[in-house]
């Protein structure tokens, strides 16, 4: 799965979770940039991404997810070979 495809899919995840079809993502996007991205929404994002990409984040990995770039890289690593 190419990075671009991951961005496209992840954008849809964000749009669904925040119910906002205008969201666009970049690697630097953080919770600061998206209204409503609080700790509960963060868990929702993690779970929605897991479901969408068919992966599981490990507990330790959750601590490293600070911006969208972190999400994409981790998903790419996990999807390698998938």
């Amino acid at each position: 799965m190419h990075e671009q495809e991951i961005y496209a899919e992840l954008t849809q995840v964000f749009r669904d979770v925040f119910d906002d079809d205008d969201i666009t993502l970049s690697a630097a996007t953080t919770a600061e940039d998206i209204p409503g991205w609080d700790s509960q929404a963060h868990v929702n994002l993690v779970v929605a991404a897991e479901t969408r990409f068919g992966i599981r984040f490990r507990t330790a990995e959750l601590e490293s997810l600070h911006n969208v770039g972190d999400f994409v890289q981790l998903i790419a690593t996990k999807r390698k070979g998938a």
Binding site: V13, D16, V17, D19, D21, S39, Q40, V43, N44, V46, V47, A48, T51, R56, F57, R58, T59, L62
Partner: protein, 646 residues
């Protein structure tokens, strides 16, 4: 089994949600959300549905028929992520739920101390969502049985104290969540042999909670048992989510969890379904009776398919014994279908179990309407089970009020799916429920007598009816509450009360709460009517408002109203009440009682203040009103409760 597997799949739920969000009117958006809540959905779509409904739920338009209920969740773990799932499942079940979440871990303070936010919210239902990690019983593993027993008893005493506070302070119905295991077993299968092993303690706690809840009128949210029926038990909780956010229930499972909570809330308000309508061919037997004949259909032992259909029949028959009304709706020749019931040796369902039997070549939507009419229940009381996806689809479209579960291809799984869908959740089980199936069969017998009689009065006399009226006590409370919450048609005011509120009314020495039963020569009709009367600020002293008068439609046309009024007048006179004031509050469903009071000799009077539009008011003096002729013997004890108390 996928969660919410019994709900149909939408072609493109995401697009439908995006389109619905652009609707300007909040009420219309809410209406759309109610419709879409009936489709299979994951937690993200459920969250979007919740936002779609949010604004409209603040003031739901009356035409949507949503029943409001205030639910407070007092939890020892994070539950905020579960609230959308609860509200959306509520919408699907006809409820407008306001949900208040007390601060996480603060449940003791909320109930024992002061919680102004909770007090202002005035919860009608309190869900006490505790988990095994919260104040765990931590004993040395070699502790004797007695030590475990003592520790469990202490924890239960504390819980009961909390339940009592919830009832006393808020008059709320308490729902206690049973504990789910937090850790894997330490001893494997040997676990239960070690009294102080964590799982043993948990099992013991849950057993004690069940017993105490039964005694205290507390309802249970049995997450573990519910989830076990869903397949992989690890689906409910996810240790990662627990460590990340103290979520006992994973967000993934929020839609199912929400449905489990909403079905209890629905049952509290009497919104559960009452009647299971079964298709015949390939639903309760294999094959087509019209083509294959009695010898050709697959049913019964000796063949796997036949066994599976038999198991389905047995499950339906058991539901019937529980008090769920059974009906048949099938495209078949009536005589051929009836013959299968009469002559097939392996049928677990008997013809007498079926209260309404529609086998013909008319469309199924029309037949379902006919069944509802014949049984005097609403379409929203029906669950229709049919193996044919096309028929299911048509009925869903024609009759959106009827619940039509999706079903797997294999009939062996029908009972599991039907059970998992939770259509028949209840807040009580009474002897009346168990007798109901017989009662519907007896009604068919009464109908047969009536058809042979030309003279109605003679027929009514021949029934040898006895009406028993008693003040509502502990024995009558569950069934009376059930009737108050589910009677829609013969119901003058459609006021709904929780069991706690009913109990308060029943214990009020200035009020009257009557439970009325009717027996006749065909059997016991059970508790069929509830009348609540009390003083009211809008009336003069010495007058009673008939707060509630309702009756089961099973005993319509038998002069029970006349006999009930006679009892009511006797009680009122005993209490020194001079006049009874009756109200009719029109709803979409209770048109049949619009003329109830004038028919009984009440005279119209001016409207009372602060009543909904369209409310009509009548009065009758307790002295000098003429008695009504009726063919019913009365068994009633009339004591002046105020004077006996003093």
């Amino acid at each position: 089994m996928e969660q919410l597997a019994w709900l149909p799949v939408h072609d493109d739920l995401g697009a439908a949600l995006s389109a619905a969000r652009r609707i300007a009117d909040p009420g219309e958006r809410l209406s759309r959300a109610m419709h879409l809540a009936g489709f299979r959905r994951d937690f993200t779509a459920t969250g979007r549905l919740d936002r779609l409904a949010e604004e409209g739920l603040a003031a739901p338009p009356a035409r949507l028929g949503l029943a409001p209920l205030r639910l407070a969740i007092l939890a020892s773990h994070t539950v905020d992520h579960l609230v959308p799932g609860i509200r959306v499942a509520g919408l699907h079940r006809g409820l407008a739920l306001s949900v208040h979440v007390a601060p996480y871990g603060n449940y003791r303070q909320s109930l024992l101390g002061e919680d102004p936010l909770l007090a202002a919210f005035a919860p009608q239902v309190i869900l006490l969502a505790l988990d095994a990690q919260d104040s765990p019983i931590d004993l040395p593993l070699d502790s004797p049985d007695g030590a475990v027993e003592e520790a469990v008893a202490g924890r239960i005493a504390e819980l009961r104290h909390l339940w009592r506070r919830a009832r006393e302070r808020f008059n709320a119905q308490v729902v206690q969540q049973l504990l789910v295991p937090a850790t894997p077993p330490l001893f494997g299968s040997y676990e239960a042999m070690v009294p102080a092993a964590p799982r043993s303690i948990l099992d013991r706690l849950n057993a004690a909670i069940r017993a105490a809840a039964r005694e205290d009128g507390v309802l249970l949210l049995d997450l573990a048992a519910q989830m076990a029926g869903q397949g992989p038990a690890d689906g409910l909780g996810d240790p990662v989510r627990w460590h990340q956010a103290k979520q006992l229930v994973s967000p993934v499972m929020a839609p199912l969890h929400g449905d489990l909570v909403a079905r209890i809330a629905g049952a509290v308000l009497g919104r559960a379904r009452k009647c299971l309508v079964l298709d015949l061919d390939n639903t309760i037997w294999g094959g087509v009776i019209g083509d294959d004949g009695i010898e050709g259909i697959k049913l019964g032992q000796g063949n796997p398919t036949g066994e599976a259909f038999l198991a389905m029949q047995r499950y339906a028959a058991q539901l019937g014994r529980r008090g769920i009304i059974l009906a048949v709706c099938s495209k078949n020749d009536a005589a051929v279908a009836e013959a299968a019931f009469a002559n097939h040796p392996e049928m677990a369902l008997q013809r007498g179990d079926i209260a309404a039997f529609q086998a013909n070549w008319n469309d199924k939507a029309g037949n379902l309407r006919q069944i509802a009419k014949q049984l005097n229940i609403g379409l929203d009381a029906l669950v229709f089970v049919d193996d044919n996806p096309a028929e299911r689809d048509i009925v869903r479209r024609e009759l959106p009020d009827v619940a039509v579960p999706e079903l797997p291809e294999d009939v062996a799984l029908y009972p599991t799916w039907l059970g998992a869908a939770g259509y028949f959740e209840t807040v009580g089980f009474t002897a009346d429920d168990a007798a109901r199936a017989r009662s519907y069969a007896a009604n068919a017998a009464r109908q047969a007598v009536l058809e042979q009689t030309t003279d109605l009065e003679g027929y009514l006399r021949s029934l040898e009816m006895v009406l028993t009226a008693r003040p509502i006590g502990a024995a009558e409370l569950p069934r009376a509450t059930q009737l108050v919450n589910k009677t829609n048609q013969f119901n003058l005011t459609t006021r709904r009360y929780t069991e706690a509120e009913m109990q308060a009314l029943a214990e009020d020495p200035d009020a009257l709460a009557l439970a009325i039963r009717l027996t006749d020569r065909f059997g016991d009709n059970g508790l069929i009517s509830v009348v609540l009367a009390r003083p009211d600020a809008a009336l003069r002293p010495g007058e009673w408002l008939i707060d509630t008068w309702l009756m089961s439609c099973r005993v319509l046309g038998r002069k029970v109203e006349e006999a009930t009024l006679q009892v009511l007048l006797e009680h009122a006179r005993h209490q020194g009440v001079t006049a009874l004031i009756g109200e009719y509050r029109p709803t979409a469903r209770n048109g049949m009682v619009a003329e109830h009071y004038p028919r009984l000799g009440f005279t119209p009077m001016a409207p009372l203040p602060d009543r909904p539009d369209g409310t009509l008011v009548w009065r009758i003096e307790t002295r000098g009103s003429r008695p009504f002729a009726h063919p019913i013997a009365l068994d009633t004890t009339c004591t002046n409760r105020r004077s006996t108390r003093n």
